[in-house]
Protein backbone atom coordinates (compact mmCIF):
# COMPACT_ATOMS: atom_id res chain seq x y z
CA UNK A 1 0.00 0.00 0.00
CA UNK A 2 1.24 3.45 -0.86
CA UNK A 3 2.38 5.48 2.09
CA UNK A 4 -0.05 8.23 3.08
CA UNK A 5 1.29 11.61 2.02
CA UNK A 6 -0.23 14.73 3.52
CA UNK A 7 -0.12 18.20 2.09
CA UNK A 8 1.54 20.77 4.36
CA UNK A 9 0.95 22.96 6.20
CA UNK A 10 -2.76 22.23 5.65
CA UNK A 11 -4.38 18.90 4.90
CA UNK A 12 -8.16 19.31 4.69
CA UNK A 13 -10.38 16.52 3.39
CA UNK A 14 -13.95 15.35 3.10
CA UNK A 15 -14.05 11.56 3.29
CA UNK A 16 -16.91 9.35 2.16
CA UNK A 17 -15.41 6.23 3.76
CA UNK A 18 -13.83 5.38 7.10
CA UNK A 19 -10.53 6.98 8.03
CA UNK A 20 -7.39 5.30 9.27
CA UNK A 21 -6.69 7.45 12.31
CA UNK A 22 -3.36 5.90 13.27
CA UNK A 23 -2.01 6.23 9.76
CA UNK A 24 -3.19 9.84 9.49
CA UNK A 25 -1.58 10.87 12.78
CA UNK A 26 1.68 9.07 11.97
CA UNK A 27 1.85 10.90 8.64
CA UNK A 28 0.96 14.21 10.29
CA UNK A 29 3.68 13.72 12.88
CA UNK A 30 6.19 12.86 10.16
CA UNK A 31 5.19 15.94 8.13
CA UNK A 32 5.85 18.26 11.06
CA UNK A 33 9.13 17.09 12.53
CA UNK A 34 9.97 20.63 13.59
CA UNK A 35 6.91 20.97 15.85
CA UNK A 36 7.34 20.78 19.61
CA UNK A 37 3.89 19.28 20.11
CA UNK A 38 1.02 17.63 18.25
CA UNK A 39 -2.55 17.60 19.58
CA UNK A 40 -5.31 15.50 18.04
CA UNK A 41 -9.05 15.20 18.53
CA UNK A 42 -11.17 12.36 17.20
CA UNK A 43 -14.95 12.80 17.18
CA UNK A 44 -17.06 9.64 17.05
CA UNK A 45 -20.71 8.70 16.64
CA UNK A 46 -22.12 8.27 20.15
CA UNK A 47 -23.97 4.98 20.63
CA UNK A 48 -26.63 6.48 22.91
CA UNK A 49 -30.25 7.51 22.47
CA UNK A 50 -31.17 4.57 20.27
CA UNK A 51 -29.17 5.98 17.35
CA UNK A 52 -28.72 3.30 14.68
CA UNK A 53 -26.96 5.47 12.12
CA UNK A 54 -26.00 9.03 11.42
CA UNK A 55 -25.84 10.78 8.04
CA UNK A 56 -23.92 13.94 7.25
CA UNK A 57 -24.74 15.81 4.08
CA UNK A 58 -22.79 18.76 2.67
CA UNK A 59 -22.74 21.25 -0.20
CA UNK A 60 -19.60 20.79 -2.30
CA UNK A 61 -19.09 24.42 -3.41
CA UNK A 62 -19.08 25.62 0.21
CA UNK A 63 -18.13 22.84 2.61
CA UNK A 64 -14.52 22.03 1.70
CA UNK A 65 -13.56 25.66 0.84
CA UNK A 66 -15.05 26.72 4.19
CA UNK A 67 -13.01 24.08 6.05
CA UNK A 68 -9.83 25.20 4.23
CA UNK A 69 -10.46 28.81 5.17
CA UNK A 70 -11.11 27.80 8.79
CA UNK A 71 -7.87 25.79 8.94
CA UNK A 72 -5.91 28.71 7.48
CA UNK A 73 -7.44 31.02 10.08
CA UNK A 74 -6.33 28.61 12.82
CA UNK A 75 -2.79 28.46 11.43
CA UNK A 76 -2.52 32.25 11.44
CA UNK A 77 -4.21 32.83 14.78
CA UNK A 78 -2.35 30.17 16.76
CA UNK A 79 0.92 30.26 14.79
CA UNK A 80 0.76 26.58 13.89
CA UNK A 81 3.30 24.55 11.99
CA UNK A 82 0.43 22.63 10.46
CA UNK A 83 -3.15 21.44 10.75
CA UNK A 84 -5.06 18.36 9.61
CA UNK A 85 -8.84 18.62 9.31
CA UNK A 86 -10.64 15.52 8.08
CA UNK A 87 -14.41 15.21 8.14
CA UNK A 88 -16.58 12.24 7.21
CA UNK A 89 -19.70 12.62 5.12
CA UNK A 90 -22.35 10.03 4.28
CA UNK A 91 -23.76 7.35 6.56
CA UNK A 92 -21.92 6.29 9.74
CA UNK A 93 -22.76 3.89 12.55
CA UNK A 94 -22.11 4.27 16.31
CA UNK A 95 -18.44 4.04 17.19
CA UNK A 96 -17.27 5.26 13.79
CA UNK A 97 -15.07 8.34 13.46
CA UNK A 98 -16.78 11.53 12.20
CA UNK A 99 -14.01 14.08 12.46
CA UNK A 100 -10.26 14.09 13.01
CA UNK A 101 -8.42 17.30 13.82
CA UNK A 102 -4.68 17.50 14.47
CA UNK A 103 -2.57 20.56 15.12
CA UNK A 104 1.20 20.94 15.28
CA UNK A 105 2.89 23.88 16.97
CA UNK A 106 6.17 24.85 18.59
CA UNK A 107 4.47 24.91 21.99
CA UNK A 108 1.64 22.79 23.37
CA UNK A 109 -0.72 25.61 24.39
CA UNK A 110 -1.11 26.80 20.77
CA UNK A 111 -1.75 23.25 19.59
CA UNK A 112 -4.41 22.59 22.27
CA UNK A 113 -6.18 25.90 21.68
CA UNK A 114 -6.13 25.54 17.90
CA UNK A 115 -7.67 22.05 18.07
CA UNK A 116 -10.41 23.38 20.37
CA UNK A 117 -10.99 26.36 18.04
CA UNK A 118 -11.22 24.12 14.98
CA UNK A 119 -13.69 21.75 16.64
CA UNK A 120 -15.96 24.53 17.92
CA UNK A 121 -16.15 25.99 14.42
CA UNK A 122 -16.63 22.64 12.68
CA UNK A 123 -19.54 21.90 15.04
CA UNK A 124 -21.45 25.10 14.49
CA UNK A 125 -20.08 27.08 11.56
CA UNK A 126 -19.22 24.50 8.88
CA UNK A 127 -21.61 23.54 6.09
CA UNK A 128 -22.88 20.18 7.31
CA UNK A 129 -26.36 18.89 8.02
CA UNK A 130 -26.82 15.90 10.26
CA UNK A 131 -29.63 13.44 10.69
CA UNK A 132 -29.96 10.34 12.86
CA UNK A 133 -31.78 7.12 12.23
CA UNK A 134 -33.57 5.70 15.24
CA UNK A 135 -36.10 2.88 15.40
CA UNK A 136 -38.85 5.20 14.17
CA UNK A 137 -36.94 6.60 11.20
CA UNK A 138 -34.66 9.50 10.29
CA UNK A 139 -34.59 12.73 12.31
CA UNK A 140 -32.76 15.94 11.36
CA UNK A 141 -30.60 17.35 14.15
CA UNK A 142 -31.22 20.95 15.09
CA UNK A 143 -28.26 23.20 15.93
CA UNK A 144 -27.66 23.20 19.68
CA UNK A 145 -27.51 26.39 21.75
CA UNK A 146 -24.36 25.23 23.49
CA UNK A 147 -22.57 24.90 20.14
CA UNK A 148 -23.31 28.56 19.49
CA UNK A 149 -22.08 29.45 22.99
CA UNK A 150 -18.86 27.53 22.29
CA UNK A 151 -18.32 29.66 19.20
CA UNK A 152 -18.74 32.94 21.06
CA UNK A 153 -15.69 32.05 23.20
CA UNK A 154 -13.46 32.80 20.21
CA UNK A 155 -14.91 36.20 19.25
Amino acid sequence: MARLVLSAPLDVRLLDKGMSVGEALAAFNAAHGEAGGVVSFLGKVRPDGGVRALELTFYAPLTLPGMEELAQTAINRFVLEGALVWHRVGVMTPGEAIVLVATAARHRRSAFEAADFLMDHLKSAAWFWKRERRDDGWHWIEPRGEDHADLVRWK
Binding site: Y59, P61, L62, K123, A126, W140
Partner: protein
Protein backbone atom coordinates in the same frame (compact mmCIF):
# COMPACT_ATOMS: atom_id res chain seq x y z
CA UNK B 1 -33.36 29.08 -19.75
CA UNK B 2 -33.47 27.72 -16.22
CA UNK B 3 -32.14 28.04 -12.69
CA UNK B 4 -31.58 24.99 -10.45
CA UNK B 5 -32.75 25.33 -6.86
CA UNK B 6 -31.03 22.93 -4.43
CA UNK B 7 -32.67 22.01 -1.13
CA UNK B 8 -30.09 21.20 1.55
CA UNK B 9 -30.56 19.34 4.83
CA UNK B 10 -34.09 19.28 6.24
CA UNK B 11 -35.35 21.53 3.42
CA UNK B 12 -34.98 18.53 1.11
CA UNK B 13 -37.66 16.65 3.05
CA UNK B 14 -39.89 19.71 3.09
CA UNK B 15 -39.51 20.11 -0.69
CA UNK B 16 -39.95 16.40 -1.36
CA UNK B 17 -37.00 16.51 -3.77
CA UNK B 18 -33.31 17.43 -3.74
CA UNK B 19 -33.54 19.97 -6.56
CA UNK B 20 -35.97 21.75 -8.82
CA UNK B 21 -35.57 23.51 -12.16
CA UNK B 22 -37.34 26.83 -12.51
CA UNK B 23 -37.42 29.50 -15.20
CA UNK B 24 -34.60 32.06 -15.35
CA UNK B 25 -34.05 34.76 -14.28
CA UNK B 26 -34.93 34.27 -10.62
CA UNK B 27 -35.03 37.00 -7.97
CA UNK B 28 -36.06 36.82 -4.29
CA UNK B 29 -39.79 37.16 -4.95
CA UNK B 30 -39.52 34.60 -7.74
CA UNK B 31 -37.74 32.23 -5.38
CA UNK B 32 -40.40 32.58 -2.68
CA UNK B 33 -43.05 31.86 -5.30
CA UNK B 34 -41.19 28.86 -6.74
CA UNK B 35 -40.57 26.89 -3.54
CA UNK B 36 -44.04 26.68 -1.98
CA UNK B 37 -45.36 28.28 1.19
CA UNK B 38 -43.63 25.96 3.72
CA UNK B 39 -40.15 26.62 2.37
CA UNK B 40 -40.91 30.29 1.69
CA UNK B 41 -41.69 30.62 5.42
CA UNK B 42 -38.33 28.98 6.25
CA UNK B 43 -36.52 31.37 3.91
CA UNK B 44 -37.81 34.33 5.93
CA UNK B 45 -35.84 32.95 8.92
CA UNK B 46 -32.57 34.93 9.15
CA UNK B 47 -30.68 31.71 10.01
CA UNK B 48 -31.47 30.28 6.58
CA UNK B 49 -28.86 31.31 4.01
CA UNK B 50 -28.99 31.36 0.23
CA UNK B 51 -26.03 30.70 -2.06
CA UNK B 52 -25.91 31.56 -5.76
CA UNK B 53 -23.19 30.09 -8.01
CA UNK B 54 -21.54 28.53 -4.95
CA UNK B 55 -21.24 31.78 -2.94
CA UNK B 56 -23.31 32.65 0.11
CA UNK B 57 -25.22 35.88 -0.46
CA UNK B 58 -24.60 38.61 2.12
CA UNK B 59 -28.15 39.80 1.39
CA UNK B 60 -30.28 36.90 0.21
CA UNK B 61 -33.10 39.27 -0.73
CA UNK B 62 -30.81 40.70 -3.43
CA UNK B 63 -30.80 37.31 -5.23
CA UNK B 64 -30.57 37.64 -9.02
CA UNK B 65 -29.95 34.23 -10.57
CA UNK B 66 -29.54 33.86 -14.32
CA UNK B 67 -29.78 31.02 -16.80
CA UNK B 68 -27.59 28.10 -15.72
CA UNK B 69 -27.07 29.34 -12.15
CA UNK B 70 -27.43 27.10 -9.13
CA UNK B 71 -29.26 28.52 -6.11
CA UNK B 72 -28.73 26.57 -2.88
CA UNK B 73 -31.03 26.96 0.12
CA UNK B 74 -28.98 26.45 3.30
CA UNK B 75 -30.78 25.84 6.60
CA UNK B 76 -28.93 26.21 9.93
CA UNK B 77 -25.99 23.80 10.08
CA UNK B 78 -25.57 20.93 12.54
CA UNK B 79 -22.21 19.34 11.90
CA UNK B 80 -19.31 17.81 13.77
Amino acid sequence: MSVTILFLGPLRDLAGEAEREVAAPLDWDGLLGAVGTDIAAQLEDERVNVACKGKVLADKRALMAEDGDEVALLPPVSGG
